[in-house]
């Protein structure tokens, strides 16, 4: 392994990420250089440390309290490091296309799988390091004042190890999912595509729960043998090592630390092996059953969609289940519903209705946000077809509403059965959730028409960052503004039910109408000329 080659490739991967952003398109700009992340790390670390020091100076708590505080928090920093990389990796890294991940070029450049792995892991760990820099900066003054500087030093080393551990896991999943893709190579049948999507969703779900500290801590609290869990599961060994050191058990702590590093080395070996076996991530040929043309979809036709609009909806729905970058969108409702099921009856019926309304609305918003940007450069084909802006609005709304209605109906039934809601209340909940989906669909489409990102990027994004933030924040406000009075009116019949129901209705009609108006004007503007 040539370290110089690894370092060059890692720097290229990081630069590829930084330069994919619109604001950093100038390659000569400092904002397009890998050193930017190091500067952000240092800036965040120093800035947060300075703020913590000032706060500490003002409060002047006793030294033993500070010691106890930092000893309680420091052991969890490596866990935070792994979790941050895993969460960000699941959201951004797994959907990276091979040509942007640099793995395509690695096919013909003289780079070994091990070197590629080392470079990719370094790049991932480095990219997400600012999150750890913040926490380490905040705890530095506390540790120094509390006299736990040695444990702090060990925490820094184990946090870096945690970043690498998370990056290794992401690389392993990436290689494994390529395996999941390639097992369908040359196979016939749409079932294979479904299996591929299912495997990817399951892998993402598994990782989401297996390495989610909130979930794991909740799980360990429920188990009586917490100590056993933390000593047996390698994921916790850094935490265990720091806890032991903080308690003065140096040998035992060293043992856990060595175990942690050995575990990371084993992961690196496995990841390298996986990468070597799933090398050459070039597109594979997937054959489907002989195609038969199905004339205009009768269900969509019943909703007034033309043949061309139905074809657009069909095309987008195929993309939803066949495109890797769309999978996180599909996973969202699944993960959120599983969370509800895990929490079980701890949530009341009101919270549950609010929850499913939020899930359904958020899913519609998310999907609508992707609906235009997912066209990428193929948007020029849509422009070349004899389509009107109105047709595109109907087609895109159809694409979002078909899966949204399925999700909304499924969630309403889930809550209705779980809480044994009376039929009238159930129908009200169903209507509310479906209506929320419709309003949020058009809300998302209005933003998609104005803020879609058509660039091919290392980490696919469908909306430009500003639009994404604005859509999410405004969408959440809108969601709860409609949901809260609606759910209260349905579940707690009282003299306030009618006024609350009226408020919900007015908001639905008003905000829904506004969303439709904004969507139509946005698509008309979008259709004036090609935006790239």
């Amino acid at each position: 392994m040539e370290l110089h080659r690894v370092q060059r490739l890692a720097a290229t991967l990081v630069a590829s990420l930084l330069r994919s952003g619109r604001s950093s398109s100038d390659p000569k700009s400092f904002f397009g250089r890998p050193a930017l992340i190091g500067v952000i790390d240092l800036g965040l670390f120093a800035g947060v440390a300075a703020m913590a020091a000032v706060a500490l100076g003002a409060a002047t708590p006793p030294r033993d309290e500070l010691s106890a505080f930092s000893n309680a928090f420091l052991p969890f920093i490596p866990l935070v490091a792994v979790s941050v990389v895993l969460l960000a990796g699941l959201m951004f890294e797994l959907t990276t296309t091979a040509k942007f991940a640099g793995s395509d070029a690695a096919n013909w450049l003289p780079i070994s799988p091990g070197e590629y792995l080392a470079a990719s892991v370094s790049a991932i760990a480095y990219t997400y390091s600012p999150a750890v820099a913040i926490t380490l900066g905040a705890l530095l003054p506390l540790s120094l004042a509390g006299g736990t500087g040695a444990v702090y030093g060990a925490t820094v080393a184990l946090a870096v190890a945690g970043l690498i551990e998370g990056a290794l896991l992401i690389e392993m999943v990436r290689a494994a999912t390529q395996r999941a893709s390639s097992v369908t190579a040359g196979s016939r049948g749409r079932v294979n595509l479904f299996v591929r999507a299912l495997v990817l969703i399951l892998v993402i779900l598994l990782l989401q729960f297996a390495f989610n500290p909130v979930f794991l801590l909740g799980l360990t609290q429920r188990l009586s043998t917490v100590a056993l869990v933390t000593t047996v599961v390698p994921f916790f060994w850094s935490t265990e090592a720091l806890t032991q050191w903080a308690a003065g058990n140096l040998e035992l702590g060293a043992g856990f630390a060595v175990g942690q590093f050995a575990f990371i080395a084993a992961l690196a070996y496995l990841a390298s092996d996986l990468r070597e076996r799933n090398w050459a991530p070039s597109p594979v040929e997937v054959r489907l059953e002989a195609h038969r043309y199905a004339a205009r979809n009768p269900v969509l036709a019943a909703f007034g969609l033309s043949a061309a609009e139905s074809a657009l909806v069909g095309k987008d729905l195929k993309g939803l289940v066949r495109r890797r970058e769309m999978l996180p969108t599909l996973v969202v409702p699944v993960v959120l519903v599983v969370l509800v099921l895990v929490e079980g009856g701890a949530l009341g019926d009101l919270v549950s209705v609010l929850w499913i309304g939020w899930v359904a609305g958020f899913f519609s918003l998310l999907l609508a946000g992707t609906s235009v940007g997912q066209e990428r450069k193929a948007l020029q084909s849509l422009y070349a077809f004899p389509l009107s802006a109105e047709s595109l609005v109907r087609a895109k709304a159809g694409f979002v509403l078909v899966p949204s209605f399925i999700v909304a109906f499924g969630l309403a039934v889930l809550v209705g059965v779980f809480f044994g809601l009376p039929p009238a209340t159930f129908l009200g909940v169903l209507l509310l959730v479906v209506t929320i989906s419709v309003v949020l669909t058009f809300w998302g489409l209005a933003f998609a028409a104005r803020f879609s990102d058509f660039q091919e990027r290392p980490r696919p994004q469908f909306l430009r960052p500003g639009g994404m933030i604005a859509a999410t924040v405004s969408g959440m406000i809108l969601l709860f503004a409609i949901l809260t009075p609606g759910a209260l009116a349905l579940l707690y019949p009282s003299t306030l039910s009618i006024p609350l129901g009226m408020i919900a209705l007015v908001l639905i009609v008003g905000l829904g109408g506004l969303a439709v108006y904004w969507t139509r004007s946005g698509f008309r503007e979008l259709f004036r000329q090609l935006p790239f």
Partner: protein, 277 residues
């Protein structure tokens, strides 16, 4: 390869556009377009008659793709006018597109669809009935040797196969104007020959107007009735190959030498010598 029969198609419905054979199908009058500080097109004018193949030539960045996009309304010109069969293209953009077939410089196909699914999708966009589309798609797939690959996802196609799919998609609704931006990119010699002969047939026998860009000047010389040379957003010269030779004072020379002379990039010996060292 025989051109698939017309069958029923929306472009044959009564239209306010007059489809006079031999008349000016496309008229581009003084269009200009700038992107920020970059002046992409400056007062570009030319025409394409029905049944005529016009080659749009020019160095990289000359404005060929922008011109083609403007003709289809994908890019709105800052000034000037574009008329298709006498009608301003902005008056009824949908009808303009219905009458046109377009192959972009880098076709971005929906790679998650199979070839057959994509062509069906395109046929739906143009409103082709199932029987007509099935027959045409079958013929085009066979002609371009894609039969047997139509049920594979496009993501697994080679560049040439993708280009063939893009060509079929542009041809399948039998447009009256073909706008082809480097249509022979990545095609094997057999498919390139089929495409050239097909374009000639469509122009001669069906009266299709073809606007065609290429960097392969031998091809332009072989199939184009007229050439329009763009340079830095301006029309540098236009006419038949013979007229261009006369204008450059290079009688008897081939189009490549005439092109290099007209665009001021003729003396390449120093560059080649430097690169050879």
């Amino acid at each position: 390869m025989a051109v698939p029969s017309s069958g029923s198609r929306r472009s044959e419905r009564p239209t306010e556009f007059s489809l006079r054979a031999g008349g000016s199908a496309l008229q581009v009058d003084g269009i200009s377009k700038s992107f920020g500080a970059v002046q992409a097109l400056s007062a570009v004018s030319f025409s394409v008659a029905s049944g005529e193949i016009v080659g749009l030539l020019g160095p990289n960045g000359a404005g060929k793709s922008t011109t083609m996009r403007a003709v289809l309304g994908l890019v709105q010109a800052d000034s000037g006018e574009i008329r298709l069969f006498g009608q301003n293209i902005l008056a009824d953009p949908e009808q303009t597109k219905r009458l046109s077939g377009y192959v972009p410089e880098a076709p971005a196909l929906y790679e998650f669809l199979t070839g057959a699914e994509y062509l069906d999708f395109v046929a739906d966009m143009y409103g082709l009935d199932p029987a007509t589309r099935a027959e045409r798609i079958r013929q085009y797939l066979a002609g371009f040797e894609l039969t047997g690959h139509e049920d594979s996802l496009i993501s697994g196609y080679s560049q040439g196969m993708k280009q063939k799919v893009a060509l079929i998609a542009a041809l399948s609704h039998h447009p009256k104007l073909l706008i082809l931006d480097e249509p022979l990119n990545g095609l094997d010699p057999r498919s390139a020959r089929i495409t050239k002969d097909l374009l000639r047939n469509l122009a001669t026998h069906e009266g299709v107007a073809v606007l065609f860009s290429t960097h392969v000047l031998e091809i332009a010389q072989a199939i184009c009735d007229r050439i329009v040379i763009l340079h830095r957003g301006h029309v540098l010269a236009s006419g038949t190959v013979a007229a261009l030779r006369d204008r450059a004072g290079m009688a008897g020379r081939d189009l490549e030498e005439v092109f290099l002379a007209l665009t001021g990039t003729g003396d390449l010996r120093d560059v080649v010598d430097a690169l050879s060292r």
